[in-house]
Amino acid sequence: MLTAIFWLTGSVFALLAAIGVLRMPDVFTRMQASTKASTLGLGCLLVGAALQMGDFGSFIRVASIGAFVLITTPVAGHVIARASYYADVPLWKGTILDERRLQAEKGATKDPTL
């Protein structure tokens, strides 16, 4: 029963992550939707599977997958956002602050972000 609740919650969060990636207007908003929602969804799926199997070996494997995902997903999101920001991917038109473009308009001699 608990397994069913965790699996349904996790799949709903994974579906929300996919909808966010499909519907968001910008690379950066898509990246944050994908990163956060899919981390929570995968965590719920892992907890459900660990409860279902109830075995020490599979619990260790599921816990290692969860720890690995929790560590690497923020790193991957940061690396993608940094690379796409330096690659001058167009921002959403509602973006409030773009410090790199402000520096370029002020005519700074060196780009502080590089």
Binding site: W7, A14, A17, S34, S38, V79, R82
Partner: protein, 88 residues
């Protein structure tokens, strides 16, 4: 009960995979495709974990570990490629 629930879960994850694949095909820029690929890897890991929990075959969890690792390495490699291609 659990059988029906796991089928619903797998169906929802399948819909999520299709949506991520639409973004992977459409994506206007390369970082969009990298984000979609990253999400694709995470969804496949969740799919395998649910399948392992349903069937009780423990060996598939090792495949989930390997796919999570390879997905992270591929994302970082693609991002490094995008960033270095811009600087040259």
């Amino acid at each position: 009960m659990l059988q029906l629930c796991s089928q619903i879960t797998l169906g929802t994850l399948g819909i999520a995979l299709v949506l991520a694949f639409v973004r992977l095909v459409k994506g206007p820029t390369l970082p969009d495709r990298i984000v979609a690929m990253d999400l694709f890897g995470m969804l496949v890991v969740g799919f395998i974990v649910v399948l392992a929990g349903t069937t009780g075959v423990h060996a598939t969890l090792d495949a989930a570990v390997v796919i999570a690792l390879i997905g992270f390495l591929g994302t970082v490699a693609y991002a490094t490629y995008v960033e270095r291609g811009q600087r040259q």
